[in-house]
Symmetry: C2
DNA sequence: TTGCTCCTCACGTCACGTGAGGTGGC
DNA sequence: TTGCTCCTCACGTCACGTGAGGTGGC
C-alpha cells in the first residue's frame, strides 16, 4: 500500500496525474481513508497504471482508454480503433512534412533575398460559391473591362461590396480570344437573371468547391496583377504543389482612382500535392 | 469596407476567428462603430489576415505571430524562430513514427494471438535514484535471497514500503557468480551506512537517471520473473528499440506467502532507438 | 412583424500543471 | 514548533467553437 507520493515516485508520474485519474475514474485507489481523504494504492495497481500509460502512448484519448477499461472491448473493435488511430497519425505526418517544406522554402526565401519579404500565399479550402455570372468570348482585354463596368452599372451595391470575380476558361493564357466568366458572388437563394448593357445576361450558377486553393492578394492596377500569379507559381513549386485547375480573380476593392492603382484583387489558384 | 460576415465569407474563415483576432489585438478592424460596436474591415486587411494565416500555417503560435507583427523582427531572428520550429517538428515526426510502430506491433500482437493480451510494457524516463545499496559477488541465487532478507531485517519499515531493488552488473546473464547490487530506494538526504548480518553494509549511492527505460510489472514468485524479461525483449524488438544497459528489478510488494506467489516486481530495462 | 446580421458574455475543449490555503502526524 | 505530506478548490493552458440572450435595420 502506497500513498500518492510514494506511488507517484515509483511510477515516475506526477501526483496530480494520479489524483486526476482518480477524479475521472480511470484509476481509483483501492482504499481511501474516509476521514482524511488519503489515497492508498496497491502494488498491483501499477499494472493498471502501466496499461493506461501504454494506451495513452499509442495516442488514444483518456476517454477512449476508459472505454477500453470499463466496457470490455472486443479485439475486433480494438483493431478498428488502432487502425483508425494509425491512419490519423499518418495523415498528421503528411501535414507535418508539408509544414516542414513550407518552413524550408521560407528560410530559403529569407536567405536568398536577405529581406523579410511579405508572406502572401495562403492555402485555403474554398466552399461552393453561388454567383451570378456571364460567360463569353472576349477578343481583347478591354472587352472584359467593359463587362465589369456593365455589371457595376446594373448592380451598384455590388460594386461597393466588391464581390466581382473573373475566371478564364481558356486553356492557354493569352491576352486575346479568352473564354471568360465574369460575375459577382451572391447568396444561394438569389435566382434572378440580370440583363446587362450589350445584350449579355448574368445568370445564377454555383462555382464548385475546391479543396486546396493557393491564394494571394494583390494591390494595384490590373496590368500589375501578373506579379500575384508569379508569386503563386514560385510558391507552389517551392512547397511541393502543382497547379491544378483554372484560377479565379476576386475583386476585393474596385478602383476609384483613374489609373486603377487602388484596385485590390485576390487570386485563387487550385493546387494539388505532387 | 466589409462587415465581419462579409469579410469572413471572402476570407473563408469563421466570424468567431475574426472577433477573436480583434480581441487579442492580432487583426483590428480599421473602423468600429462606437454606438453599435459593428466591426468594419478594409479590403487591404485581407493581406494582413493572409500573413497571419500563413505564419500560423508554419506552426507559429498566435503569440509569436503578434510579436512578428508589432515589434519588427529582424530576418536573422525570423530565421532562428523558423529553424527552431523546424527541429521541433522534426522531433515530433520521429515521435509520431515511433507511435505508428507501436500501434503496428500492437495490431500484430492482436492478430497473431487473437486475444486482447495485457499491455504491459511502458517507456519511462527515470530520474536519478538515491539508494542505500551493497554490491557483492553472489555464487548462487540463494545468496541474493539472503541479502534481501538481511535488508528487511535491518530496515523493517522499508520491507513494508516495498522499495527494494536488485541489479546484476555481470555481463552475462548466468545464474551463478553474479555481480549483484542490492538495496533500497531512499531520500537524497539519507547518508547513513547500515550494517547487515553477514558483514556487509548498505552505503548511500545514486543510481544514474535513464532517458528511456522499458518497464513492466510482473506478479509471481522470483522463478517466474523471466517472463517479464521475455516480454520486454519481444516488445523492444517489435518497436524499433534495442536493449542498452543493465536492468533493474524493483520490488513493489515483498512476498508474504511461503511460495512467494504474491511478489510484485517491476523490471526496468534501459533501451535506445535503433 | 419576420428574418437576418450584429453584438457581448461565457462555457467547453484536453490533460493535466501550478499555486493557494488549510490539515494531520512526527 | 518546524517540516513534510496530504487534501480540496480553482485558475491557466491554446485557439477558437458553440450556444445564450439581446439589439438594429429592412
Amino acid at each position: 500500500m502506497f500513498t500518492v507520493g510514494e506511488f507517484s515516485r515509483l511510477a515516475q508520474v506526477s501526483k496530480r496525474l494520479l489524483r486526476f485519474y482518480d477524479e475521472i475514474g480511470l484509476l481509483t485507489p483501492i482504499q481511501i481513508d474516509p476521514s482524511t481523504g488519503y489515497r492508498y494504492y496497491h502494488a498491483e495497481q501499477m499494472t493498471d497504471l502501466n496499461r493506461i500509460l501504454a494506451l495513452k502512448d499509442l495516442g488514444l484519448s483518456l476517454d477512449q482508454i476508459r472505454g477500453l477499461i470499463v466496457g470490455q472491448v472486443s479485439s475486433a473493435e480494438m483493431q478498428g480503433m488502432l487502425l483508425l488511430k494509425k491512419t490519423e497519425i499518418e495523415q498528421h505526418l503528411l501535414n507535418e512534412m508539408a509544414r516542414i517544406r513550407k518552413i524550408e522554402s521560407r528560410l530559403q526565401a529569407i536567405r536568398s533575398a536577405e529581406t523579410n519579404a511579405p508572406l502572401n500565399v495562403v492555402l485555403k479550402r474554398i466552399t461552393a460559391q453561388p454567383v451570378l455570372s456571364v460567360r463569353t468570348m472576349a477578343e481583347t482585354f478591354s472587352v472584359a473591362l467593359d463587362i465589369f463596368s456593365h455589371i457595376r452599372a446594373a448592380l451598384p451595391d455590388v460594386a461597393v461590396n466588391g464581390a466581382l470575380f473573373c475566371m478564364c476558361h481558356s486553356e492557354t493564357m493569352v491576352d486575346e480570344d479568352m473564354d471568360l466568366e465574369i460575375g459577382c458572388l451572391t447568396e444561394a437563394s438569389n435566382k434572378t437573371i440580370v440583363p446587362l448593357r450589350g445584350g449579355l445576361h448574368l445568370r445564377p450558377r454555383t462555382l464548385p468547391p475546391v479543396e486546396t486553393m493557393a491564394t494571394t492578394v494583390v494591390k494595384g492596377a490590373l496590368e500589375t496583377i501578373h506579379s500575384g500569379y508569379r508569386e503563386i507559381g514560385v510558391w507552389t513549386a517551392a512547397n511541393g504543389y502543382r497547379l491544378a485547375g483554372i484560377p479565379r480573380e476576386l475583386t476585393l476593392q474596385s478602383p476609384r482612382k483613374a489609373d486603377g492603382s487602388d484596385l485590390i484583387t485576390e487570386i485563387q489558384f487550385p493546387v494539388e500535392t505532387l
